[in-house]
């Protein structure tokens, strides 16, 4: 027996960070009896340590709740919690498309932020019913009327019926549940059509293999069924199906509109693509669920072990992490400066930080990350088009006919008081204004076209500082555009240092070249010979510094007999050199590279 879809409501929660999404989710779980007061653990849905610490959701979750509404009927509510960060916007869109409605949580004092806006548009794109909720209504600074007006002006959503709630005190939570039942449509689907379901997340469990989260569109699924993933074409025998209440609970069958998990001896999450359609192998659906995309990394960086002996450990760790995170790509790379490591692709900067932090924390590794960059599209003089995600692999300047770089469309919401700092920053970052709009009397929405590369360097921190934190940013990829980009090489004694190469706009190249060479000069110890340090674009030198030859290194006295001690001193000195990296015949301590990579990031 499957559930009657009439009694199912699938919803998600959209909120800006700190607007109270997790606390509200916890309240809903409590009120519906899914967790008792005693078992309550703060922010139950964010179960990765990192998620709790950062107050963000990285993985999607789904919880099935039983709710007896005021109309006297029992309902099943499926809360699908989505990641809240722009890096994961594809995952967000898939989670949203598994729902018929979403709660739009807005802090009753802070108002609408750019991130809320982006996810709201995603929800509107997916035809979701949006229920505005003003949270933190208990705070003295709450201004529900002003925020309602904002919601209407910025989003164009009728907020007259918005629930005034406080996840902290519990006020309004039941009203939210009632609105979910009354306003969000019941799922529609054909129970007699071939089985069709949407995959919206998966993760790896070391006991059960990959666990797939899905939402049934048509038909129904029982365990033992042979299923097929439409895009990958892979077939599996379903071993278990179940729902999270929030503890995993087995179930016999899942029908139209229901949300649950399954296991099917799937080895890695890379075999399960988010957005793919599941169907029955013997009786497949004709139409896949729309909106599927291959996940594409946007930000690239080299990851190297600080201690080269940890290379194998790093590879094992990456293999294990990838079991759980198919959106992270890596391939071996070697660098004269940093030794053996990996070129990695990430969905965005946050994703990069998360991966690096998990590798270091869960696998006890110490890592060096090269300056993050993007994937360029290069057309060579012979007409060949290639994608280049590492400056070191950029063809020689003479062979390049044009370089295109990824652009984003960024939306920034801020107060007009900070425009004086924000507009010049956008200008410096090569931004092109698409929209400038006062959404309320002092709140401004800016839409800009920006090269992604400018964002991955120091944009966030700069924006935060010029707006004193009162600007929110969201963006999405908008395509490739040709730019006047150059590859800046750093040469030590005439030899290019691969790890320090950068791709950047021609107008900023000279200043950066000067900065990097000056820093290198400080950090390269004097050698037996003079060492020129140059920054070059192609064969043109744009900055130069010189490390003078070593003046002296001599043991003054050598008698007595602590000749063994002197010998050990010399041996120690020699050992120290072995740990240095060699570029040509120049010995450079690893710390020098690290410091320059820091300069490159800034």
């Amino acid at each position: 027996m499957v559930m009657n879809p009439e009694n199912i409501r699938n919803f998600s929660i959209i909120a800006h960070i700190d607007h109270g999404k997790s606390t509200l989710a916890d309240r809903i779980l409590q009120l519906t009896g899914a967790v008792s007061e005693r078992d309550m653990e703060d922010q139950l849905l964010d179960d990765m340590d990192l998620e709790r610490e950062r107050g963000i959701t990285i993985k999607a979750h789904a919880v099935r709740l039983d709710y007896k509404a005021r109309d006297g009927r029992p309902y099943v509510l499926n809360l699908i919690d989505t990641p809240g960060h722009v890096d994961f916007s594809y995952e967000v869109s898939r989670s949203l498309s598994a729902c018929e409605g979403a709660l739009l949580i807005v802090d009753a004092s802070q108002g609408v932020e750019a991130q809320t806006l982006a996810n709201t548009y995603l929800a509107i794109d997916n035809d979701l019913e949006l229920l505005p909720v003003l949270n933190k209504i208990d705070l003295p600074s709450a201004e529900p009327d002003r925020i309602k007006e904002q919601i209407e002006n910025i989003i164009g959503l009728d907020a007259s019926d918005a629930v005034l709630a406080s996840a902290k005190t519990g006020v309004g939570v039941e009203d939210i549940l009632e609105q979910i039942v009354r306003k969000i449509p019941a799922p529609k689907g054909d129970p007699n059509a071939p089985f069709k379901a949407l995959i919206f997340d998966s993760w790896y469990d070391s006991y059960r293999g990959v666990i797939v989260l899905f939402r049934v569109i048509d038909g129904s699924l029982k365990k033992g069924t042979k299923i097929k993933f439409l895009n990958t074409g892979r077939e599996y025998l379903v071993e278990t199906i179940g729902v999270n209440r929030p503890r995993p609970t087995p179930i016999n069958e899942l029908g139209v509109g229901e949300v649950g998990f399954m296991t099917a001896s799937i080895k890695t999450v890379a075999d399960v693509q988010i957005g793919d359609t599941i169907t029955e192998a013997a009786n497949p659906t004709k139409e896949p669920f729309p909106g599927f995309q291959e996940v594409k990394p946007m930000v690239f960086a080299g990851l190297y072990p600080t201690d080269s002996a940890q290379y194998e450990d790093l590879r094992d760790a990456m293999d294990k992490l990838r079991l759980n995170d198919a959106s992270f790509f890596y391939e071996p790379e070697s660098s004269t400066a940093l030794g053996f490591g990996f070129r990695c692709g990430f969905l965005g900067l946050l994703h990069m930080e998360i991966v690096q932090e998990r590798l270091e924390r869960e696998f006890n590794l110490e890592l060096i990350t090269t300056a993050p960059g993007v994937r360029y599209r290069v057309t060579t003089t012979s007409g060949e088009v290639m994608e280049v995600d590492s400056p070191a692999r950029m063809p020689e300047t003479g062979r390049i006919s044009k370089i295109e770089e990824p652009y984003i469309e960024a939306t920034i919401l801020t107060n007009d008081a900070y425009l004086g700092g924000i507009l010049p920053l956008l200008d410096e970052k090569r931004g092109v204004q698409k929209k400038f709009e006062f959404v309320t009397s002092n709140r401004v929405m800016l839409v800009y076209q920006l090269p992604l590369n400018e964002i991955v360097l120091d944009f966030y921190d700069r924006l935060k500082s010029v707006s004193r934190g009162y600007a929110s940013l969201d963006y999405h990829f908008s395509g490739y555009q040709e730019s006047d980009l150059v590859k800046l090489d750093v040469l030590v004694s005439g030899e290019p240092v691969d790890a320090l190469s950068l791709v950047l706009h021609r107008k900023t190249a000279e200043a950066k070249g000067k900065l990097v060479t000056a820093k290198m000069k400080e950090l390269i110890p004097r050698q037996l010979f003079e060492v020129p340090i140059q920054a070059a674009i192609g064969s043109k030198i744009i900055a130069r510094e010189t490390v003078k030859a070593m003046g002296k290194n001599v043991i003054a006295k050598c008698y007595g007999g602590d000749i063994s001690r002197k010998r050990k001193l010399l041996e120690k000195q020699k050992e120290g050199k072995k740990r240095m990296k060699k570029v040509g015949r120049v010995e450079i301590p690893q710390e020098a590279f690290l410091a320059v990579l820091k300069v490159n990031e800034g």
């Binding site: 003046g551 002296k552 001599v554 003054a556 007595g560 010399l570």
Partner: protein, 376 residues
């Protein structure tokens, strides 16, 4: 092969700010007497580390610390213990290190009559400001007087030390020092570039920026200057830091560089018997206690790394390393073993090599640690 004997006298009136040697502050004659008794006992012990010295002792060297804090009687008792135990050569070179302001004309004459025929004393600088910085406990006049008294007492082989590259010292300051040194016309000079040792008061002063950190390029220039000035004064450079009139090279110190055996006695003394290196207890009290209780003072013993030591000690001498001698000692050709390194160092202008030998260039001497590392 002939051997040498080294005697360590750890006492000093005060501690110099740059010194990291094993030294003890001099607290009067009683403690020194006790130490001298221990020394005599260590030297005389027929069961000690050198039961059967097979060769003659050619050199006897008193280093410190400040050996000139020994009274003539104390010195004599040690010298006679050495001559009772070892066969001394007729032309024994007997060196005593001295500090200005610790010796009087009478004392010097008494040392002379005991057989001390070479004096090596620490001037370090003729600049009173710098002497204060180094906490030497004497001034430039004391040093000049000591020199005169040595000559009056009949010393015909006198050496003294100067240090270049002191914090705040200019090239001109160094030149003034060298001019005075050369004018005094000693038979031998030891000229060092200052080394900063961790844990010394001087290192602390530099770290806390109370003194300017000496510039290594200035030090290199000072080195060049001292090579020129000693050469034109007829003092030949025979080792990285040592200069002498012909025939007055330190025979004792040369033993270290040519891997001759040297037997060391006293606290923190090091010995080399041709194969092994061993060293005595570094703490004076522990040393004395050990000897008094009839135990050995040796705390560490290990085989010498003869091949690398032969090369790096040999290169310290300006005459360099003789390839044929290396081959005779070790049964292989150094130019095969380290061919690449020799080529690299030659091309960098740090050594010159011909058919017979290789030696440091001037620049190689300044960067000698870089050169030596190649042969470890």
């Amino acid at each position: 092969m002939t051997s040498g004997v080294y005697i360590h006298v750890p006492f000093c009136k005060s501690r110099c700010s740059y010194c990291d040697f094993a030294t003890d502050v001099y607290r009067g004659r009683g403690a020194v007497d006790r130490y001298v008794n221990a020394l005599v006992k260590e030297i005389s012990d027929p069961n000690s580390e050198f039961p059967n010295p097979t060769s003659q002792i050619e050199t006897l060297y008193f280093g410190g610390g400040t050996p000139s804090l020994l009274s003539p009687r104390q010195l004599e008792s040690i010298v006679s213990a050495v001559s009772d135990r070892f066969a001394l050569a007729d032309d024994l070179e007997l060196t005593l290190e001295m500090n200005p302001a610790t010796v009087t004309p009478e004392k010097l004459r008494a040392y002379r009559s005991i057989g001390v025929n070479r004096a090596s004393f620490g001037v370090q600088t003729f600049n009173n400001r710098d002497l204060k910085l180094l906490a030497r406990g004497h001034d430039a006049t004391d040093a000049r007087l000591t020199y005169i008294h040595l000559r009056e007492a009949g010393f015909e082989n006198v050496s003294f030390d100067l240090i270049a590259g002191l914090p705040g010292q200019s090239i001109d300051d160094w030149q003034t020092n060298l001019e005075e040194a050369v004018a005094l016309a000693p038979e031998h000079l030891s000229l060092y570039l200052l080394e900063i040792h961790e844990g010394t008061p001087l290192a602390e002063q530099l770290r806390s920026q109370r003194r300017p950190v000496p510039d290594e390029d200035v030090a290199a220039e000072m080195y060049e200057l001292m090579l020129e000035m000693t050469a034109s004064a007829g003092l030949d450079q025979y080792e990285i830091s040592n200069f002498a009139r012909s025939g007055f090279e330190s025979r004792h110190n040369s033993k270290y560089w040519t891997l001759d055996p040297v037997f060391g006695f006293g606290v923190s003394a090091h010995s080399f018997d041709g194969r092994e290196r061993y060293s005595n207890e570094r703490d004076t009290n522990l040393y004395v206690n050990a000897i008094e209780s009839g135990a050995s003072a040796v705390v560490a013993r290990e085989p010498a790394e003869l091949r690398s030591e032969f090369v790096f000690l040999g290169l310290r001498m300006m005459r360099g390393v003789d390839f044929a001698e290396y081959e005779r000692r070790f049964g292989e050709d150094l130019r095969v073993r380290n061919g690449e390194g020799i080529d690299r160092l030659s091309s960098l202008g740090l050594i010159v090599a011909d058919e017979r030998r290789m030696k440091l260039t001037r620049r190689g001497a300044l960067l000698s640690n870089e050169v030596f590392a190649e042969f470890l």
